[in-house]
């Protein structure tokens, strides 16, 4: 699909990268593009990336990011994406402050997808999340404008990362109302990603109160068959139901039976059980929250034998603990 053919003259061995970086300095556009394509091919080899970083041509790439030719920009983004696959690459990218020019490129259609992938790789770095926070306003501004499903999912996962680092900043810039339409979007993947972002947002107290507003959409997501969707939705409910308003809303929306069903499903295969473990824990915690209301307690006391039986059958320690806490809360009397 590349209209550009890499040049035949790529140096052998140690000379490949330096020669190519020399070619990058050429003012003519065509040669530059070919050199970039060759560089991209070279970097697929594992050890070249460290070489490339040592050769120190990151500054050149930074200049090329602002080139007029969109193909050049797209290629440079790909190269940066490959560099970011290594920990040292990520470190170098963050240290060389690539984030400002990358944030300019968010507006650029051909490079956008690669920039999102690059940013998600950067977030794997230990200080990546903190650096992504500087991009948070731009990312949030892009959220309503993004049309493609895949890009929306990528953007939402990036936002989830940012929210996990500092939810307060996001809440101050009114993130909940921005995310609310995405929760009722058509595609399941978008809704899942939006629910994950909501879960990150509902950790602080102010967030919990704001997320109460969108609980109906979340409850609808809980009914889906997809496990990830159920996981994220039950996570949101678990966090929001800590507040009294949240509890009442959830009871009103009748999520209790759904959560019970999630908890009490039995699977024989070890792998499925392991995969479902976080889902079961979230659902149990949500039930514990809801059991603190009188109505919830009453409903759950009817189901108490079921919970007890489940607790005896369960082998996993964590789930057992959570079950016991739930049973305690249900049987609490003042």
């Amino acid at each position: 699909m590349d209209p550009v053919a890499p040049p035949g003259l790529v140096g052998f061995g140690r000379w490949a990268v330096p020669l190519l970086s020399e070619q990058l300095r050429l003012p003519r556009g065509g040669a530059r593009l070919r050199a970039l394509a060759a560089l991209a091919d070279e970097l697929h080899r594992p050890l070249r990336a460290t070489e490339a970083l040592n050769a120190g041509f990151l500054q050149q790439l930074k200049v090329l990011l602002e080139d007029e030719d969109p193909l050049v920009r797209a290629k440079v983004c790909e190269i940066l994406h490959m560099l970011a696959a290594h920990a040292s690459g990520r470190h170098a990218l963050l240290a060389a402050s690539f984030l400002p020019p990358l944030s300019e490129l968010l507006e650029d259609p051909p490079c956008r997808r690669t920039v999102y992938l690059l940013l998600s790789r950067l977030s794997l770095h230990s200080s990546g999340g903190a650096s992504l926070l500087t991009l948070l306003p731009k990312l949030m501004k892009r959220l309503p404008e993004e049309e493609e499903e895949e890009l929306q999912v990528l953007l939402l996962s990036l936002l989830t990362c940012c929210f996990q680092v500092d939810p307060q900043a996001a809440l101050r810039s009114d993130a909940v109302s921005l995310l609310a339409p995405k929760l009722s979007d058509g595609a399941l993947r978008v809704r899942k990603a939006a629910a994950a972002a909501m879960m990150a947002l509902s950790v602080p107290m102010a967030g919990k109160l704001q997320v109460c507003e969108v609980l109906p959409a979340v409850a609808a997501l809980l009914q889906e068959d997809d496990e990830d969707a159920q996981l994220n939705a039950s996570g949101v409910i678990m966090f929001t139901a800590v507040t009294t308003a949240g509890k009442l809303r959830c009871l009103h929306l009748d999520v209790l039976p759904v959560l019970l069903k999630l908890v009490c499903e039995r699977h024989d295969e070890e792998q499925i059980r392991r995969r479902r473990k976080p889902l079961v824990i979230y659902a149990l915690r949500a039930l514990t929250m809801l059991a603190e209301t009188p109505e919830g307690r009453r409903l759950l006391q009817e189901q108490l034998p079921l919970l007890r039986r489940r607790s005896e059958e369960e082998e996993d320690q964590d789930i057992q603990q959570v079950l016991q806490t739930a049973v305690q809360v249900v049987t609490f009397s003042p």
Binding site: P46, A85, A87, M199, M238, F239, V242, R285, T288, T325
Partner: protein, 261 residues
Amino acid sequence: MRTRDERTSGAVGPKRARRKFRPRTPEPVQGRKHLEVQTESFLEELSDIPVVQEIECQTDSFLDRPETPIFIPSKTGKDAETQIDEGDLFDFEEEVRPILEILVGKTLEQSLLEVMEKEELAALMAQQRAFLERRNNQLPEVHRLQEQERRRREERERRMAEQKRALEEEKEVAEKMAARALTQQQLHDLVPSVFASLRREGYFYDPVERDVETNFFPRLVDDVQRVLQKKCRARELLDVLSFTPACRRVHRSGKILPQAQ
């Protein structure tokens, strides 16, 4: 024939000079003519026009002719032959092994490295996810307990506030009751004494009486006074009228009046 004066060529210099002064046959005597005669053994016809012979030649179009046979030099020397059988030069299997090892090794190494890179990324993401899950497992419990604590504390404070308010209200009520008893006691005697003093001061009156007093009596008194005044005036007048003549009479008569009895 060229005359001596004409230049035979454009040459100048010694050659020309030499040519000019070259000895020539003297001029013919008058009546005689010189003739050039060849004195060689073979006579030549001298003429200005060279003998020209024209010969024409024309090639025919090429006829097909067979190719020249390849020149095969005749054999010289001795015949010798040789043949390489399998295994004479080298053993393929043996020789290829190191090359193959290198090739395969390098490919495997590179692919392993690439796979490891991908796995490293995947492991990082899995680690992040596991951390998140652990955090999300414990965090809501913490929140719930915090919330519970907050609710209980609020409840406790509310109850304490209520209790305090109830106590205060009771105190207020007690004070009010005491104050009421006191005032009742004081006011109990107050009303009769007030009434008595009022009555004493004359604030309670019979309106008819007052009306009579205020309206009727003054007029009556005025009238009475007027009548009395009239009477008095009449008497005075009478006195004056009767006194002055009596005085005059007394004065005229000059008698001393007996003492009035």
